[in-house]
């Protein structure tokens, strides 16, 4: 039960570990970028899970979507609306991460042209 109520956090932490493993251990630059994206996704999942509000254990008491037509249901006190701030922040963060990925891919293309490989260990042994 203690695990089940925190399953979102646990999944996000596992994703973070997988992404960190890919970033540290994989020598390929593209795989490093994939690991970076997995880490970002884990942070998104953690934020969105923190925005959830559950007033009780049953499914009817879980939070409803933050729309204005749900205000009356939320004002009755039986359910709550999802906190909109983490969702808005994550929408910003997704755009920034996509931009970072685009720039990193362009730099990876340039490195591939220069060294002829994407392997970081081979790149270190080659002389530029």
């Amino acid at each position: 039960m203690m695990v089940l109520t925190r399953i979102d956090f646990i999944v996000s932490v596992c994703l973070f570990g997988i992404g960190l493993y890919a970033m540290v251990m994989e020598p390929n630059l593209i795989k490093k970028l994939i690991g970076l994206n997995i880490m970002e996704t884990s942070v998104y999942l953690f934020f969105i899970a923190m925005g959830d509000v559950r007033l009780g254990p049953s499914t009817e008491q879980w939070a409803i979507a933050p729309f204005a037509q749900n205000i009356d249901a939320a004002a009755s006190g039986k359910v709550a609306m999802v906190n909109p701030i983490p969702s808005a922040l994550i929408l910003t963060a997704i755009v920034v991460s996509v931009s970072v990925t685009a720039v990193a891919l362009s730099i990876a293309i340039k490195l591939y042209q220069h060294y002829g490989t994407l392997d970081l260990r081979k790149m270190a042994t080659l002389k530029g």
């Binding site: 939070a63 204005a68 205000i71 530029g128």
Partner: protein, 115 residues
């Protein structure tokens, strides 16, 4: 060998983070600061902004009176935090400029073009 050591290390890392996460409050705990107001609907929307940690409640209840949008998340990112979205578009624009400038760099042979 190296890889198995790394797998063990990152497994321990994940287990440590799970132990930390298990000490957080469960998902959707209404007693987090800022969520306690959801239970008491008596607070009018005009006084919400004076309370501490109640920005979410202010957004949820004030989206109709402020005339922003019926989708609260859309209202937050486009209306309440309009500067954020404005500079987000400039972030995308800057990313495009940097991608084009990096890709159009002349192929120098290891700094030999510096001569």
């Amino acid at each position: 060998m190296k890889r198995s050591v790394a797998v063990i290390f990152f497994g321990l890392f994940i287990i440590c983070m799970i132990v930390v996460v298990m000490h957080l409050s469960p998902v959707g705990d209404p007693h987090l600061p800022g969520y306690a107001d959801f239970i008491s609907p008596d607070v009018p929307a005009s006084q919400v902004s004076r309370e501490a940690n109640s920005v979410a409640l202010r957004y949820n209840r004030g989206s109709i009176p402020d005339g922003s949008s019926i989708s609260v998340v859309g209202g937050v990112i486009l209306d309440y935090r309009g500067y954020d979205t404005l500079y987000e578009t400039t972030v995308i624009f800057t990313a495009l400029i940097s991608v084009l400038s990096v890709l159009s760099m002349t192929k120098g042979k290891g700094g030999s073009d510096a001569r």
